[in-house]
């Protein structure tokens, strides 16, 4: 396991930056939300990686097992995932309303429409 070292964290950062890039660069609101999800998942991966102990197993107590991975990070991320879907749903609802109001979900067109008004 030694060679893994910080590999997980680098992957987390790469994923985070990809999500960040989509959020900044994409013109489409739905794709922005997907980018946000990628960003969010990268944070989940970071927490779960921090909780893993080499040689440990799942934190469900059983006879004959002494080393468990960290249950606290699991709890934090578990609730975060469900809250994440709730916020994504809210975001999508807003996108639907924007689409009904402006007839488009492209950011630049929305800005153009706003300038006209």
């Amino acid at each position: 396991m030694e060679f893994l070292g910080l590999f997980n964290y680098w992957v987390v950062i790469v994923l985070m930056m990809i999500g960040f890039y989509i959020v900044i660069c994409s013109n489409n609101l739905i794709k922005k939300l997907i980018g946000l999800t990628i960003f969010q998942t990268s944070v989940f991966i970071m927490y779960i990686s921090m909780g893993k102990i080499t040689g440990g197993t799942a934190p469900v107590l059983a006879d004959g097992i002494t080393l468990y991975s960290n249950p606290l990070t699991h709890v934090l991320i578990l609730t975060a995932i469900v809250v994440g879907i709730a916020t994504t749903a809210l975001g999508l609802a807003i996108v639907v309303r924007i689409h009904e109001g402006y007839g488009t979900v492209e950011e630049d067109e929305i800005h153009a429409r706003d300038k006209q008004a």
Partner: protein
């Protein structure tokens, strides 16, 4: 031996991933996601044995379930909307 099967499943996953990326049609992508989901079910089941705690197979069950529901969902929303219909049609929809 579990190792060999795990590698086989991982290779299959990678190939399905490529198909999901390349397309070309909508249905190819759905198929790829479906295959990918089934392979994930297998991977979880095998990894449980590989890591020596195979009692957590419930997760594989959820994967199988969600895989099915996703495919149904895609068909529900996209089957009867002609694939090219919605392409940029929103830009002309104006008052």
């Amino acid at each position: 031996m579990f190792t060999a099967v795990t590698i086989a499943v991982l290779v299959a996953m990678a190939l399905a991933l490529f198909r999901a990326y390349a397309g070309p049609t909508l249905y190819d992508r759905i198929l790829a996601v479906n295959v990918f989901g089934t392979k994930t079910v297998l991977l979880i089941a095998i990894v449980g044995f590989l890591m020596g705690r195979p009692e957590f197979l419930d997760i594989a069950m959820v994967y199988a379930l969600m895989n099915f529901i996703t495919v149904i969902g895609i068909l529900h929303f996209f089957e009867y909307s002609a694939p090219g219909k919605s392409a940029n049609s929103e830009t002309v929809k104006d008052q």
